[in-house]
Symmetry: C2
Subunit: 205 residues, 2 copies
DNA sequence: CAGCCCCTGTACCGACCGGTCTACTGGGGC
DNA sequence: GCCCCAGTAGACCGGTCGGTACAGGGGCTG
């Protein structure tokens, strides 16, 4: 827990590859389901390098991967929101994107955070904290967007929380049912409701 | 989906204890996080008995546990719905109940299905199928209730799916954030919306 | 061109994983 | 009264787990 948190995670570097592949494995198998050996062979990195860059072992690596996944999700959201101009449309794009991932992976790649979050009860504090922070970050980002779109909204945080919960749940349902239908249904209804709530008397944006 | 799949799972019997403790462990740790030895010691059953009653090993046991968990959730839902008289109120009671579980377990016990569903990509077909069936059962139960409460509703299945997704997501969020706030927020807003959608011009039930 | 040191590669470790096997026990049917 | 076998008990298996130790290696310094 030194001040220098994760400086050496350049995309192509050894730590970078390690974190990226870990994030991918974590996404479809969860923490206990993703073996260290599997991560190593998939990223083409020997064990010695792992413990050089991440003395904390699997937990530290997972924590970093969770942070990167969260950052990726937030970045995607910001991008969609900027392009679409409304939170409702951004949510739709967001769901579409993860529906694609799901379908392309034969319904193995769900939410990058969900698999780890679901078993957070059996995880080290390091990872546990990171998962909490990741969720807060995601909710906070939505809340900021909502407040920006309609400064008069009474409770942006509540709406943001509802959005994240709905999307997260839809992703889980989609994975379990092996169908993108839940995502389509939820995003459609959710987007409409967000628009209605953000612009009570106006154009649905 | 045979009518008689697991006849020997009486509550107090050896298979019964096995399935119940497995369900509990699965709920907080997921499939790979719950060790077989741990299940055995927690239920006070030796290994020989396990493989006598469940020749399929851990996967068969987990599949059975998932089925039992799903049945329990459905039963709780039906009970709440019967007592409350409206789907909206039932959802609220449903969320309250799982919020209690969460808080009582120091935020380890989330949705009994979520942890397994989240890592379903790395599971045997047996378990995978059971998780899908469980989710379908849950959604179907909600849909039936909705249709019963308002036969004119245009798409009970869609609303049911949205409900399950929202609750599932709220449970996940609550577990990650170690707070029941997401559940409270989501259930409140969800219940209100369900009432509005089921009784467009009338009493909010 | 020598030395150093960050990083890599790999052999190895004990613990534990899920699963198999066999010995034993006790109670109901004949 | 005997037997039989469903059910229990636990020793044991190979494999894999996450983690450690240490011997190179190679590029940047001097």
């Amino acid at each position: 827990m030194e001040p220098r948190k994760s400086p050496g995670s350049a995309p192509g570097s050894t730590p970078g590859r390690l974190v990226t592949t870990t994030a991918a494995l974590l996404r479809e198998r969860g923490f206990h389901g993703a073996g260290l050996t599997e991560i190593l062979t998939a990223s083409g990195v020997p064990k010695g390098s792992l413990y050089h860059h991440f003395p904390g072992g699997k937990s530290e690596l997972a924590a970093e991967a969770v942070r990167q996944s969260a950052a990726g999700m937030v970045a995607a959201l910001e991008r969609f929101a900027d392009r679409a101009g409304s939170t409702g449309a951004a949510v739709r794009a967001f769901c579409d994107r993860y529906a694609e991932d799901l379908a392309a992976s034969d319904f193995r790649d769900g939410c990058p955070l969900a698999a780890v979050a679901a078993e957070s009860g059996a995880l080290h504090e390091t990872v546990r904290r990171e998962i909490g922070a990741a969720m807060e970050l995601l909710v906070g980002t939505f809340a900021r967007r909502i407040a920006a779109e309609n400064p008069a909204h009474p409770d942006p945080a509540a709406l943001a929380m509802e959005i994240v919960a709905a999307v997260e749940g839809a992703l889980l349902l989609a994975k379990a049912l092996r169908s993108t239908a839940p995502l389509k249904t939820v995003s459609e209804r959710l987007a409409g409701r967000i628009a209605a709530e953000l612009h009570p008397r106006g154009h649905p944006a």
